[in-house]
Subunit: 345 residues, 2 copies
Amino acid sequence: MAMTRQRIRNMEEFAAISGISRPTVSKYFHDPESVRPSSRQRIEAALERYDYRPNVFAMNQNRKLTKNVGIVVPYLTDPFFAEIARTIEMRCVEAGFQPSLFSGYGSPEQEVAILDTLRSLKPAGVLLAPLGRASDKRAIERFCAEVPTVLFDSNMEGIGEAFVGSDNFSFVMQTVEYLCRTGEPPSFFEMKNPANPNANKRRAAYLTMMERQGIEPHIIQIDGTGWAFEEIGKQGALKVLAEKGLRTDTILCSNDRLAIGFLVGAFELGLKVGRSKGCNLRLASHDDHPFSRFTCPPLTTAAHDYASVSEGAVKTLIDLIEAGGKLPNRTEIVYPARLIMRESA
Amino acid sequence: MAMTRQRIRNMEEFAAISGISRPTVSKYFHDPESVRPSSRQRIEAALERYDYRPNVFAMNQNRKLTKNVGIVVPYLTDPFFAEIARTIEMRCVEAGFQPSLFSGYGSPEQEVAILDTLRSLKPAGVLLAPLGRASDKRAIERFCAEVPTVLFDSNMEGIGEAFVGSDNFSFVMQTVEYLCRTGEPPSFFEMKNPANPNANKRRAAYLTMMERQGIEPHIIQIDGTGWAFEEIGKQGALKVLAEKGLRTDTILCSNDRLAIGFLVGAFELGLKVGRSKGCNLRLASHDDHPFSRFTCPPLTTAAHDYASVSEGAVKTLIDLIEAGGKLPNRTEIVYPARLIMRESA
DNA sequence: TTCTTTATTTTACGCGCGTCAAAAAAGAAA
DNA sequence: TTTCTTTTTTGACGCGCGTAAAATAAAGAA
């Protein structure tokens, strides 16, 4: 029990109390094995009596290589990003780094403000999931030139030392193949102006897949801006269903959040979604959003390999850091999706 | 366009370039109005040519009162906390503070680690939503004694300078009253060992409300630990419904996440939830979780006054900071809930 | 026991900036 | 123009810690 007989203000005070010089104490905190056992004992004895922890930010002030890692996501309120941020954070901690999490909540200005703050943090490296189209590319490029950065989730050509994400084609390939095999071919449901580059790749993949199967593609693009995807999906569904704008009974949403909204729209109109008999619609989607298993019906979707992406991203970043911040050539790692069949399709 | 002809490393370099002494530049960044117009012009001219930003962490190193604010939530992957963190963050930025967001993801050890990191940040104040029962009360108490802290969402008696949250009784009062008035009285559905103190208050409120109406209360407590409330709710629903453990057709969940799980369980068993004719169950809940309007059917729930809570928390913290970190007596502000009638009940 | 060699510790300085007291400049009054 | 005030600016030091080089202690060889 580290009792506080007296508050220790800094390493100097703590060193005085433990009877060791401050630099040695500093070495101890950097690596307890690096000091003589006798010193170590005295330090640890003092640590028992007075609880003291070095100031992380003062540590990084003058350190060549810090243990800080910045994690930047576009929108933390989206459980998809929250979940991937969580796993990445935990892996960073396991690897002995101290992660700091940031979200710009959809604002490009906030995004560059975060990068500026991050510079002050002198991170050993940064894991950045950029906003996408709305991002200030110049600012991000400049940042990546200064700080070892690995992009994840959404790629920006040539920016950052590496990219780790999911293989969008693999997502769409599996869902389209599954839907075509087990029923009518799907229409593709998406936002007209998606902010995220993955959306474009998924559309392209849909077109390719339909062409391969010799089926005329059908894309439904709905209006809406911002990050309220569920609401956008719902409104889109109400509109499309009212206009009878469907060609088949099967819909493939670009992502789960749109699908979640679509489900509500369909529900409101009294339509039954599912693959069983008596259902009016089949609905599938992509991402395996944390909530997609708790919708009614649960969503059939192509799942990110969350574990691999987060592990891969952190591993790539650590390699990058150990390589001194530069990689011989920009690597792109993408993990395939896994089809998850639930009730909705 | 701040072009970088030459990277500015620190304020010294920047001061040299702009032809002003460093301390004056420092003053400028603290308050541009505080320096002579001629100096200001020269600084801003230099700012146009060389983009430089002071190191935030070095700034705070030696500052009497920083502009840092720490925000700590128990589980950021829960959209409820993500949403409240987002609004709080934005209000802090508006008020001229720099928020840093932390989540312990349910781990008490992580929670105290975060508090230790926060000490290093020398925050002007901290907004803390503690884990609850699992928290290391001693550690939190010590922290609050050192750093001006306002608790939010979940209260801990006597800890922190103030508490801002929602009035649990108001939540339950409204849902119980509504359910009783429009149909059969509800059974109360909750976890057996809730980690969050709000859960206990809600149970107590349910008992009080039922007593007032002269109706025998009926509480269903389900097993489960951790933060996977939806799954717990689903399993609980499957069990309760299979055992026909309901007394009426109406269920009131302690919180929306349990309710979301309950909905899936009911769906799986082919039960229709809703207030319209032909439905088997009515289900209501508390929180107005961001997803509760996108469930099928959308959830009837008592909504947190998100805006008031976040505004009140930030305002209280700023008052606390301006009062020098101590308030004459510990204040507790709770905002009433607002009943939101949707399809589920 | 004495001299090397090597492992530790200490000395001294730096990181990027805040802040106070002293000095200089600007402005007002004479 | 000179003198006195009132800003501004600047010099000097400190924050809490990292780190290279110098000094010391421990260990081994002679």
